[in-house]
């Protein structure tokens, strides 16, 4: 009976195949996961007034702007809509859309600013809805009135 000789001492290479299998599975998982995350997101874009910020003088307003103010009602759960200082008849966003569209059809320049101001307690969804209405009505330059502290004034 022959007995096997011991294996000659030499370079031993570990078997990496199982490790590669596992890494491949993990890689495929991350690839799929990453592709799922490539979903797009809806955005509304604006450009702030370049005169804003430090080092700029008090702006002199020469362009007629539509000023929309949102007043907090019921602890922010609702809001009153003021347009150029007056409560909007109907006081809904559909009425605001109608007003802005009417203004555009009457020949208002859609590049002129629509300035949105809101009291600090107004819910963000109403502010976004105001911007949405302005963009849908064709106005491309939506700006935000931002106070330098102490809350937004609605003295329009």
């Amino acid at each position: 009976m022959r007995r096997g000789l011991p294996a000659p001492a030499g370079e031993r290479i570990p078997n990496l195949a199982p490790m590669v299998d596992v890494i491949m599975v993990i890689l495929v998982f991350f690839l799929l996961g990453a592709s799922l995350e490539l979903a797009t997101e809806g955005v509304l874009q604006t450009e702030l007034d370049p005169r804003s910020g430090p080092g700029e003088g008090t702006p002199i307003e020469i362009i007629p702007a539509v000023k929309i103010a949102l007043e907090e009602v019921a602890g922010g759960q609702a809001c009153n809509i003021y347009v150029v200082g007056k409560l909007l008849p109907g006081n809904t966003f559909e009425h605001l859309y109608g007003f802005l569209e009417q203004r555009r059809l009457a020949g208002a320049d859609t590049a002129n600013p629509v300035i949105v101001a809101a009291q600090p307690g107004v819910r963000w969804r109403f502010v976004i809805k105001t911007m949405d209405v302005a963009v849908r009505a064709g106005f491309t330059n939506v700006q935000f009135a931002v106070s330098l502290g102490g809350g937004t004034r609605l003295n329009w």
Binding site: I13, L16, A17, M19, V20, I23, M24, I26, L27, F30, L31, G33, A34, E37, L38, T40, E41, G42, V43, L44, Q45, T46, E47, L48, P50, S52, G53, P54, L70, G76, A118, Q119, P120, G121, V122, R123, W124, R125, F126, V127, I128, K129, M131, D132, V135, R136, F144, V146, S147, L148, G151, T152
Partner: protein, 161 residues
């Protein structure tokens, strides 16, 4: 002289370089997925019919600020940004008085020849405007003119009925 034919040698594939590359890819995806998570936290975004569907890459150089109501006090808000702690991409909660400095620091890092930094504001629809106003004020003071508001494209469910 006696010549003996060499013993047949079993050939093995050297997988080490392949493993190196795959490890690099996995680390990349691990980090990238963390970044995605920090920039796209699940938030109750407002609806906007005029919202444009854009990919993140289309927004160019950007700083993303998530604004969500605080878990402790719904009247307060948390400002969440992604941060690099040297090893991981983590979330950092900013205080309102830190927003301007944060935005200024990010704006200063953008080369002058570049298109400019864009601020992406992802605010929960139920957060008060006063909390978002803090970010808008910071953008104005940091001279970041391009501001993007995240919204869900489409009508609000109540309006559909």
């Amino acid at each position: 002289m006696l010549f003996r034919p060499p013993k047949p040698v079993g050939m093995t594939l050297n997988l080490a370089p392949m493993v190196d590359v795959m490890m690099c890819l996995i680390i990349f995806f691990l980090l990238a997925s963390k970044l995605v998570d920090a920039q796209h936290r699940p938030l109750n975004l407002p609806y906007a019919q005029a919202a444009l569907e854009v990919g993140r890459g289309e927004l160019g150089r950007r700083v993303v600020i998530n604004v969500r109501p605080s878990d402790d006090d719904p009247l307060r808000a948390e400002y969440i940004v992604e941060a690099w702690d040297g090893q991981n991409i983590t979330e950092r909660i900013l205080q309102p008085d830190e927003i301007q400095d944060y935005l200024q620091a990010r704006a200063d890092r953008v080369p002058a020849a570049d298109d400019g930094l864009r601020c992406v504001i992802r605010a929960d629809q139920n957060v008060a405007y006063g909390h978002v106003e803090v970010v808008l004020r910071g953008c104005g003071l940091a001279k970041i003119a391009k501001v993007v508001f995240s919204a869900r494209a489409g009508q609000e469910p109540e309006e559909e009925t």
